[in-house]
Symmetry: none
Subunit: 250 residues, 2 copies
């Protein structure tokens, strides 16, 4: 297939394909004697991946890096795309709900506060959001490692791992309830065990990374919710303990 046909099929312009060729993101596998670009089925395949990642907000350079990563199999791309798309779905329906809330408020003659209006936006500006997601997961070795490892886990593995996580959760609750300070030796010991559990089960987790995670436990509601559900105030407690433990190690 030559450029025009590919462009029509994929819904992009010829110029876009020229551009992708120039920057080495997608070079057609062949040329005619006259210099016409010839795209193979494999090229279409790659183009498909490129367009998906592009739509998800990745800069082209990163798309190239992702697709040229030999250690990433197709299934991994599918899983990642699936996850990012579901995130977007969630976010979009949140926005729909926000607009509906505003409609309703208008009908009732109520005004919303600026905070309420920006709620769905505020934390999650679209570009920043995607960038944020990538920062936390996509680009990190840890994420790649985690998906590679967890893909191989059996149901029994998962039962064991979640049991271990539950156990750790109980220990967290216990140590907090005991009145021990989050930077006490007891709390830091739990933190250390928790870190080693992550390293064994998901990805190599250094004390510094663990400290970063700790910060996230309070900054990110999604993570905080997990701990808060076990005991009120636990998110902050775990966060402090984990960071104290990292300091102790360093």
């Amino acid at each position: 297939m030559n450029v025009g046909e590919v462009a029509a099929l994929a819904g992009v312009t010829v110029r876009t394909l020229h551009h992708y060729d120039r920057i080495g993101l997608l070079s057609p596998s062949g040329r005619t004697s006259a210099g016409y670009r010839q795209y193979s089925a494999a090229d279409l395949d790659r183009l498909h991946q490129v367009l998906l990642y592009r739509e998800l907000g990745f800069p082209l350079e990163e798309v190239a890096a992702l697709l040229d990563d030999a250690s990433a199999d197709p299934a991994e791309h599918l899983r990642r795309q699936h996850r990012l798309l579901r995130d977007r779905l969630e976010r979009t329906s949140a926005m729909v709900a926000a607009v509906e809330k505003e409609m309703e408020a208008r009908d009732m003659g109520i005004a919303l506060t600026p905070e309420e209006r920006f709620e769905v936006f505020g934390e999650h500006d679209p570009a920043q959001y995607d960038a944020e997601v990538r920062e936390r997961w996509g680009e990190t070795d840890a994420y790649a490692q985690s998906t590679r490892r967890t893909a191989a886990y059996s149901k029994d593995d998962w039962v064991r791992i979640t049991a271990e996580m539950e156990d750790l959760g109980n220990r967290w609750v216990a140590v907090m309830r005991s009145g021990a300070a989050p930077d006490s030796a007891e709390a830091m010991d739990v933190a250390e065990d928790n870190r080693q559990h992550i390293s064994r089960s998901f990805y190599e987790c250094s004390p510094e990374m663990h400290a970063g995670l700790g910060r996230m436990y309070v900054e990110d509601e999604r993570f905080a919710a997990t701990y808060e559900a076990m005991a009120p105030g636990l998110a902050r407690y775990v966060s402090t303990a984990v960071q104290a433990n990292a300091a102790r190690q360093g």
Copy 2:
């Protein structure tokens, strides 16, 4: 409020606000004697509109035109935004479905044709998509009529759907608390109802896809957190129940 505060509230950079001022899209209604930009509540209002339209893919110049159109009342903006967001929701779930179809095909060892792959893309390249949408406003009469109907229709839809989701959540909690095993008939029945609800409300969800979702409930902490917030251990419970149900169907 001055720039920094507004930027933090809205989740944009200060530079962005400078830019919007420069191009006349959003000029703060006041300045201090020292030249500091002062944003009023009305300015925040406008910023909110700007960000929504921007997210929907409108070039800033058109956003300005839309917002400066004196003949358009706020309700019209809300209706338009609602319609565009619902379109996006539809498109995103189509993409999710496409990725899931591809996952399934891969698992079964089937290859999709290029046409199948680009299906969801083809017609709806994001830029073309928005252009197409904008084109449609030409027939304002038909547009106004159709939006009123879909807006009214979908509002009820969403109320119903969120209520159903809440109900499902409660049933999950109840069945777990009842002591029934996650692979008991009771739990699997809830799983089946949940699957059918997803199929009706969002996208065609096969038992296999549902099992995949189930795995994600524990693998992805963000999903897990949703269930964990309802009741500790629920993420794992739901995950297991959903997979058991898929096995029962297969």
